[in-house]
Symmetry: C2
């Protein structure tokens, strides 16, 4: 792309560094910004810079937080003996939205993925092991996505915790509520039959 | 969405002001930014602010430019008697990419669209009329998109220029090169038959 302005070209190039945003989309976004009041560009720039410079991670669960200890970890009504291990803040938000979970979280910051160069040392696994060894945690719920990387990470954590006596579980896999059986994939349907629950028990969470 | 951090929430809210970017996409983009080196966030913020604060528009064609007169308008090899009227800089870039056009441009900055609150006074139409009345322009090519708004704008410009004696044309509409007839829409196919060109003449541009 040949731009008539270096300033425009720079802005488009920087914008197109974002994932899923190509040069054309970046140009559309930048031209939109140019049509808006200057105030909006300032707000966007400042919000990004402030976040990048002042972002903190909760020292206990490693979630993004504005304080040293996040709201969930510092809430005395939360059950500190139950810890749910997730990949990132989006999973915390998703689980919080269900309103079904009263324990704490542990944010790994990713999954073990040799292809993306993510090893166990890039995640907060050692902090998790340390937390478990201190004895407060009774049950660990592994809630990573069920991909090759997620399974690898689950297994690695499981191995690291051997001998600590902590109870480890994973979230249930099965047919989504409201889904029709005929459209479910075989693996999910197979697992949901193997891991069937007593009929009375299936209402527990509602 | 409930965020664990006000800084994160602000950044996501500002990001989701951009067109086509919802809250979820904004969160994905912001979390990506957080994982990149600080330098990258600075570069993005600075590029946007610099563009917004220092952007200039060519005083002749109103295209985005770093100088008072853009590269195209100040190029003596360009034919100043031929002016192509387009909507925005993306159209200029598209036409420049063809390598077929040696005239100048006039960037309107949009189309007449009552629904979006865009009237003739929001566009650079009066500047175009002024330019034509000064006499240097011999032919005007109207290259707006062929929508209701584009047609309205074309007609408005045509009316404004009545009596100036300038030759006005629109770009040819027809079947795209490489397209198959059976998949073309009726309006386009109809126009391409009505506006057929002599067989010898069809090679002129190659």
């Amino acid at each position: 792309m040949d731009f008539s302005s270096k300033l425009l070209e720079n802005a488009v190039n920087e914008m197109s560094q974002l994932p899923g945003i190509g040069k054309r989309t970046a140009l559309r976004l930048v031209l939109h910004i140019l049509k808006q009041p200057e105030r909006q560009t300032e707000d966007l720039s400042n919000a990004l810079m402030k976040l990048r410079n002042s972002v903190q991670f909760c020292k206990k669960c490693h979630n993004i937080s504005d304080t040293e200890l996040c709201e969930i970890c510092s809430n005395p009504k939360r059950d500190a003996s139950l810890v749910c291990v997730v990949e990132d803040i989006r999973d915390v938000m998703a689980i919080e939205n269900t309103g079904q979970y009263r324990g704490l979280y542990h944010v790994l910051g990713g999954k073990i993925s040799p292809i993306e160069g993510m090893g166990p040392q890039d995640l907060t696994i050692s902090s998790l092991v340390h937390k478990v060894k201190q004895g407060e945690v009774k049950e660990l719920i592994l809630a990573l996505s069920s991909t090759m990387e997620g399974d690898t990470t689950n297994f690695y954590i499981f191995k690291q915790l051997e001998g600590t006596g902590v109870k480890t579980s994973t979230i249930a896999r099965g047919i989504a509520v409201g889904d029709e059986l005929e459209y479910a994939d075989e693996v999910t349907l197979g697992r949901s039959i193997l891991n069937r629950v007593p009929f009375e028990g299936s209402f527990n969470n509602n």
